[in-house]
């Protein structure tokens, strides 16, 4: 089920350069939400028509709240960053499929603004008693969500400039530390996902990759946000899957990167 509703801001914090964490009080969205799903946020500025898809970072089912962590990338996210406790925002969600939680040891690999969905995932995997490693890649010493991840996972940090953790990217960190797991969950920029897919294939590990694409409707109707599929997709009848509806999480062997 998807819901379009008015959510209320519980709190918003500036957690890194251009990165904000916002807790929203929802009516029905939190109750239905799964790790790896996203919500669409609508701007109040009427000249910005399209909703902004933002991944869910944490879910509080008891209080019916969700936490979103996003980077200010343009006018729409700038508008969200100015919201304060008590303000309201139109949202639609939960959207997309989310991660398939497997009952086995997990390696969560994420870079930059791909890190947020890993927090809820780590929480749930940890809750099930899975051994969780989280490899998080950042540009520099401005790391975020590392403390949240540490509650549920063994965290390995990589920074491009080497200021924190391993110098290099997430793959460098995995190789340097010889990290292994039975299931990979990943979210981040395309070159990172390509490297992870290759690594997973080589090591014979199943990998779930969360994709990002420009979206319009967010519910699978407009066919704006497609990615290439390995086989002919059942719905589209061509080699395209809809990131918003069939994804954003795909098994690595389902898609061409």
């Amino acid at each position: 089920m998807h819901f379009k509703e008015t959510a209320q801001v519980v709190r918003q914090d500036y957690i890194s350069t251009d990165v904000y964490s916002i807790w929203l009080q929802t009516n029905k969205v939190a109750a239905e939400a799964k790790a790896g799903q996203f919500v669409s946020l609508y701007c109040k500025d009427g000249s910005r028509l399209l909703p902004r898809p933002i991944s869910i970072c944490q879910i509080d089912k008891e209080k019916n709240r969700i936490c979103l962590v996003y980077r200010v990338a343009g006018g729409g996210t700038k508008e969200f960053s100015r919201m304060h406790a008590g303000d309201t925002v139109e949202i639609m969600g939960p959207l997309g499929n989310g991660f398939t939680i497997k009952d086995r040891s997990a390696m969560l690999i994420a870079g930059g603004i791909g890190i947020p969905p890993m927090v809820e995932l780590a929480k749930q995997l940890h809750g099930q008693g899975c051994n969780v490693i989280a490899v998080a890649g950042y540009r520099n010493r401005e790391v975020f969500l590392d403390k949240e991840l540490e509650k549920y996972a063994h965290v390995v940090i990589a920074t491009e400039d080497g200021s924190v953790g391993v110098k290099g990217n997430v793959m460098d960190a995995i190789e340097e530390q010889g990290l292994k797991a039975e299931e990979i969950y990943a979210c981040g920029p395309m070159p990172m996902l390509r490297a992870i897919k290759e690594f997973a294939l080589r090591e014979g590990i199943e990998a779930q990759l969360s994709m990002e694409e420009k979206m319009a409707c967010g519910i699978g109707a407009c066919l704006a946000c497609v990615c290439q599929s390995t086989d002919v997709d059942e719905h589209t009848n061509v080699h395209n899957k809809r990131v918003c509806k069939d994804g954003p999480v795909f098994f690595a062997n389902e898609i061409e990167l």
């Binding site: 028509l49 399209l50 699978g220 109707a221 704006a224 589209t236 009848n237 395209n240």
Partner: protein, 322 residues
């Protein structure tokens, strides 16, 4: 005879329990009666299944499907869209599952609802279009909308929509094969829309729909590249509404065919501009993306407008601004 009935209808409105005038919102397009003048704009609504979770398809005059071709089309590379001020650019490239799967899956889905089905047809050659039209001949489809105006596919599409001779010819060819009334969807990317409207009329079109999107471009100044992979895309949304209203007005005054008006309609007020300018029906497109209830809200809002202006029949509003 039809005129007599029509005149009689105007006189016979009744008042309901709340003392409100019972309004007649039905419109007749080439013999197909729609319960109200509101439909979806092709390509913004799929075949309705995704939106049916948010709104009641029974409340629409018609659902216009996303364009369907004789065979499945892969469409363009991503990114396929970019937001613009009060609008958006898209270059989906008419990705579609092909007419066979469409007939098997999408038509039966739409048949479950009390709304008319208008299938948008796309192709790369006259033969492609005719194949789809023939395939749909025995299907429970109410009308066909021929997309000769997509700016996002290299061959076909727009090639027919910018040349009056080619437009007249394809209209004739399609009409000779079609078992349902034919709507020709016109491109705004022309110097004089009346020339194109007359060409479609000369070819035997039953209805015209306009406008399709306006060709545009956006540059990503951070990445220093085109914002969408296709380089150019079709501009839609409230930004294009004044252009669309102007073209609907011009076309309505140039031909005697009924017109379905579209281009940036997001509210009943927007829809009324088109109707007053000469549109017999309206389609809601881009607004669906940011308001899944937009079509239903427009339909209800038109009734409210009629109530406020004490007009009992929508016919009495079509094209009255001269």
């Amino acid at each position: 005879m039809a005129n007599t009935v029509y005149v009689w209808m105007i006189g016979c409105y009744r008042r309901n329990k709340e003392g409100k005038v019972n309004m007649n919102t039905t419109v007749n397009l080439a013999g197909v009666e729609l319960k109200n003048p509101v439909m979806t704009a092709s390509g913004t609504f799929g075949s309705g299944s995704e939106y049916s979770e948010f709104m009641d398809l029974n409340q629409l005059g018609a659902v216009v499907t996303k364009g369907v071709a004789n065979i499945p089309w892969q469409g363009n590379a991503a990114p396929r869209i970019a937001e613009t001020s009060c609008g958006m650019l898209n270059a989906v490239g008419l990705q579609n599952p092909g007419v066979d799967l469409f007939v098997k899956r999408d038509i039966p889905f739409l048949r479950k609802f009390d709304t008319k089905i208008i299938v948008n047809v796309c192709g790369k050659s006259v033969k492609d279009y005719c194949e789809v039209v023939e395939r749909l001949a025995d299907q429970p489809v109410d009308m066909l909308e021929i997309n000769v105006s997509c700016p996002n596919v290299k061959e076909g599409g727009i090639a027919f929509g910018q040349d009056p001779k080619a437009l007249e010819n394809i209209t004739k060819e399609v009409k000779s094969k079609a078992k349902q009334p034919v709507i020709m969807k016109l491109s705004p990317n022309v110097t004089d829309i009346t020339v194109m409207a007359k060409a479609a009329e000369a070819g035997g079109a039953d209805v015209l729909s306009l406008i399709n999107t306006l060709t545009g471009m956006q540059i990503d100044i951070n990445r220093q590249c085109f914002a969408i992979a296709n380089q150019t895309g079709g501009l839609s949304g409230p930004a294009i509404k004044p252009v669309a209203v102007r073209m609907v007005y011009q076309a309505a005054n140039a031909v005697s065919l009924p017109i379905i008006g579209m281009g940036g309609i997001a509210s009943a007020e927007d829809a009324m501009e088109f109707i007053l300018a000469g549109a017999s029906a309206v389609a809601v497109g881009t607004a669906n993306f940011y308001n899944p209830m937009a079509t239903v809200e427009v339909a209800r809002g038109i009734e409210d407008y009629m109530q406020r202006h004490k007009v009992d029949n929508i016919q009495n509003l079509i094209g009255i601004v001269k």
